[in-house]
């Protein structure tokens, strides 16, 4: 007898786990990009890193019910994107005009 609830839980767990591994790999590549390039490339790498870290933390909160991970994830996702826009404008004004 196949237990559907167990299948659902297992599918969700392994899906989230494999997606977290994939985001960790993308985050490592983003760290490499942030460390080797110039200023704007570094900013792009850090932006991708905040995205991957935020999504991973959100999935950790869903899987393991760790509440502070959600707050950190929201802060990373929102402030990472907004900070990227602000610093890009700053770089443009400082370096371009």
């Amino acid at each position: 007898m196949i237990d559907v609830l167990t299948i659902a839980d297992l599918t969700f767990f392994w899906g989230a786990f494999i997606f977290m591994i994939a985001t960790a790999f993308a985050g490592l590549c983003a760290i490499r990009l942030a460390l080797k390039g110039e200023t704007v490339t570094s900013l792009m790498g850090v932006s991708a890193l905040t995205t991957t870290a935020g999504v991973s933390l959100y999935l950790i909160q869903i899987l393991f019910e760790i509440e502070f991970a959600r707050d950190t994830a929201i802060a990373l996702l929102v402030l990472g994107a907004v900070g990227t826009i602000i610093f890009a404008r700053l770089f443009r004004m400082e370096e371009g005009e």
Binding site: I2, D3, V4, L5, T6, I7, A8, D9, L10, T11, F12, F13, W14, G15, A16, I18, F19, I21, A22, T23, F25, A26, L28, C29, A30, R32, L33, K36, G37, E38, T39, V40, T41, L43, M44, G45, S47, A48, T51, T52, G54, V55, Y58, I62, R70, A73, I74, L77, V78, A81, V82, T84, I85, A88, R89, F91, R92, E95, G96, E97
Partner: protein, 160 residues
């Protein structure tokens, strides 16, 4: 044991399908038709679970959770390929490689926000949907601001 085998086969089918789509460069099955087929299959599976005696709420929740897991399996492959792309396109390709990297980080952001939105909808977590949608709205502005900053800084370096 049967449950683990089901999860493995399900993951392999989804990852293979996404990989074939990426390799072809376009959709093998049209997204509208695929969505229709998935919805019909989900309704049939929910109805069959209900007929077997499982509570209707639990049946809907189980099927939605399996679909959410499938979305995460589908999102894992583009994320890994985007990471490989960030490794692959180094500085030896010239100054314009920045725009390629900008596109790749855009892929990472888009996959992350899509997974947050659709998985959040399927597991009934509206906070995840809200954050994902907010992030999805901000992605084009991020990419545009980065490309703009790089363009003007590159122009300045050319002048110098």
């Amino acid at each position: 044991m049967i449950e683990e085998i089901f999860v493995l086969i399900y993951a392999l089918i989804i990852i293979t399908f996404v990989g074939l789509n990426i390799r072809k460069g376009s959709f093998i099955i049209e997204p509208a038709k695929l969505l229709l087929v998935v919805i019909i299959l989900s309704v049939i599976a929910t109805f069959m679970l209900y007929l077997k005696g499982i509570d209707i709420y639990l049946a809907i929740k189980s099927i939605a959770k399996i679909l959410a897991g499938g979305i995460m399996f589908a999102g894992a492959l583009p994320m890994i390929l985007a990471g490989i792309g960030l490794f692959r396109f180094g500085d030896e390709f010239g100054p314009n490689i920045f725009y390629v990297r900008n596109h790749i980080t855009g892929v990472i952001d888009t996959v992350a926000s899509f997974v947050m939105i659709f998985a959040g909808l399927l597991i009934f977590r509206l906070d995840l949907v809200a954050v994902g949608f907010f992030f999805f709205v901000l992605i084009p502005f991020c990419g545009n601001a980065l490309a703009n900053a790089y363009y003007y800084s590159y122009q300045r370096r050319l002048r110098e």
